[in-house]
């Protein structure tokens, strides 16, 4: 690689979407649903972006596109300056990690916690060798990552993840993402299936991790208060487009009531009562 192109890569944004378009075939033959409509987004390195919007706005599609489980119809995607538009998800796994909403999809139940971590660590290097993994290294890394959640999981490494509750599985999933240390972390409502207490713990530790390891993060959330409090930048999507993009001073001037008002105005849908109550209080 020449010096110039190396510098171009270093200064490139962590995520760059150019004219990203994704359509799904509808029920009728000619009916087409446009999930992403010519999106152009740049995300700077280490930035934590909250992605909000109503159902069907294209948030989850965008995360799938970034992870590689869905491929773009048109446009391109660059991660750290490298074009990954045609890369399958397993090739992106060294750079991108996704924590899904459903705890069952984040860990492999019937494998033990230790084995899940072993896979996460091997996946970071992208090699699965024909020999036993280094148990001590895996257990040490797992223990250190799990201790932060304070759920006592660090002492249960040999247990099958199938015996864990949803909140514990999400904690394991986040800890696995932490040891993988990806450049880009994608969070798809990763605390929405948890009870408020557990959700708070997992969300707080998540933020510690992404700040400490300066991961570029995109988190989808329906919780506007959380979006406002825990991010550097708020993107609002509606019908496959970005309708609001706030960062820096603009974002810090906005309070929850203001955000809720502009959400209703831009999206044209009422917010759930929960959010309105939170905004009022």
């Amino acid at each position: 690689m020449s010096q110039a192109s190396f510098e171009a890569r270093v200064s490139a944004p962590a995520i760059r979407l150019i004219n990203a378009t994704k359509r799904f075939a509808g029920l009728g033959k000619r009916e087409v649903f446009t999930a992403l409509d010519g999106l152009n987004i740049n995300v700077q390195r280490g930035c934590c972006v909250a992605l909000i919007g109503s159902n069907g706005a294209g948030k989850s599609t965008l995360l799938s596109i970034l992870m590689g489980t869905l491929l773009l119809d048109e446009g391109s995607l660059q991660i750290d300056g490298a074009d990954v538009s045609d890369q399958p998800s397993w090739q992106r796994a060294a750079r991108v990690a996704l924590v899904r909403q459903n705890p069952e999809h984040n860990v492999l139940s019937s494998l033990s916690i230790e084995e899940n971590f072993a896979l996460a660590l091997m996946g970071r290097e992208g090699v699965f060798r024909l020999r036993r993994y280094d148990r001590t290294a895996v257990r040490d890394a797992a223990r250190e990552a799990l201790r932060k959640f304070g759920m006592g999981l660090e002492d249960r490494l040999s247990e099958s993840t199938g015996t864990l509750s949803g909140g514990q599985r999400q904690a394991v999933a986040m800890a696995m993402a932490a040891v993988r240390n990806p450049r880009v972390l994608l969070l798809d409502e990763h605390v929405s299936a948890l009870d408020p207490k557990r959700a708070k713990v997992v969300a707080e530790v998540t933020e510690q991790i992404i700040r400490a390891q300066s991961m570029t993060t995109i988190m989808v959330t329906h919780d506007l208060g959380h979006a406002l409090a825990h991010s550097d930048r708020v993107l609002m999507m509606h019908r496959g487009r970005v309708v609001m993009d706030l960062s820096g001073k603009q974002k810090s001037e906005l309070d929850l009531a203001g955000l809720a008002a502009s959400f209703e105005e831009l999206v044209g849908e009422a917010l759930p009562d929960r959010t309105i109550l939170a905004a009022a209080s």
Binding site: M67, T69, P88, S89, W90, Q91, A93, A94, A97, L98, H105, N106, V107, L108, S109, S110, L111, E115, A118, L119, A120, M122, G123, R124, G126, V127, F128, R129, L130, R131, R132, Y133, S160, G162
Partner: protein, 316 residues
């Protein structure tokens, strides 16, 4: 009579040991219901018999048989991965084709190996009886292959293969190239089934293309019996369970033959046996519960739960 039945069951069961390992790998580990195993069993026998006729030694002919099976597994896997065909369908097609290929490999429907050295005549030359030689040799081969499989599934590579069989999306998200593991896994599973075919051909002293008929059911019986008796997430325990399962299955068959049930009914017995073990596993003691009792009610609830969770899946 009991010792007799147990010895015959163990003798024949161990010949089918590698097949049980193949079934375990394909169905339990990879979650791919690969019926090609039946074709690979015949193909392995045919390739091993032909190589014995061509002058190869018994060990090499066993390995050649396994390679033939791996090839069949490779084609099934490619049909699945490249042509996006359902594994069940690809397996049925491959098994149908394997019948003709087996005949083509041997040049005829059956060949006699009576005058050739086999793995088993080696041991018989040391003064062992036919039954002892079979138990020792088939047990040895099964043990070696089982240990190899346990080792493989505990390596980093094997762990990725297990992840592939559990959840493809999650596995890919962890950086695992799942299609590669499906291809390699199916090749291994079919090589194991072929090893069984080669053992059976060498043990009975002739190879007939019809030996493949219905062997998938033997493997399924081994799997249901084994996993009903011993339930565990641990690979080594699961592998031990299917080998035990195939021995138990052959013991039951030997017993029913000894009790005077006509040999033509063996397949019916097999099917009933599988039903019985599945019923016992799913409903436990509730299988025989009478209406109105507590166990009947809990069985009914479990059954309703199954119906609630049932999902459709298309074959084509």
């Amino acid at each position: 009579m009991v010792t007799d039945v147990l010895l015959i069951g163990t003798q024949i069961g161990l010949l089918y040991g590698p097949l049980a390992l193949g079934i375990y790998l394909a169905i339990n580990v990879l979650s791919l219901p690969d019926l090609t195993l039946e074709g690979s069993f015949g193909l392995g026998g045919a390739a091993a018999a032909s190589s014995l006729l061509m002058g190869f030694d018994p060990v090499s002919s066993l390995l050649i048989g396994m390679c033939a099976g791996a090839l069949a597994g490779l084609i099934t896997a490619l049909l699945h991965v490249v042509l996006q065909m359902n594994v069940l369908l690809a397996g049925i097609l491959m098994t149908t084709a394997a019948w003709s290929v087996s005949i083509a490999v041997m040049g005829t429907g059956n060949v006699s190996l009576v005058r050739f050295e086999t793995l088993f005549t080696w041991l018989q030359a040391l003064g062992l009886g036919n039954q002892q030689a079979t138990i020792l040799m088939a047990g040895g081969v099964t043990l070696v292959l089982a240990l190899l499989l346990v080792w493989l599934l505990h390596t980093g590579y094997g762990l990725a293969t297990r992840a592939t069989g559990l959840n493809i999306q999650t596995a890919r998200g962890m950086g695992i190239r799942t299609e590669k593991h499906q291809i390699f896994g199916l090749m291994m599973a079919n090589a194991l089934a072929a090893a069984s075919g080669a053992l059976v051909a060498q043990s009975q002293g002739f190879m007939d293309v019809s030996i493949q008929g219905g062997v998938i059911v033997v493997g399924l019986a081994a799997l249901t019996i084994g996993t009903s008796v011993i339930r565990s997430d641990k690979v080594a325990v699961g592998i031990g369970a299917v080998i035990l399962g195939v021995i138990v299955y052959r013991c039951i068959v030997a017993l029913s033959l000894r009790l005077g049930i006509p040999p033509n009914s063996v397949r019916l017995i097999t099917a009933l046996l599988v039903f019985a073990f599945i019923a016992a596993r799913i409903h436990g003691k509730g299988t025989f519960a009478l209406s109105g009792f507590e166990s009947w009610r809990s069985r009914r609830r479990k059954h309703l739960q199954f119906l609630e969770n049932d999902r459709v899946s298309s074959l084509l």
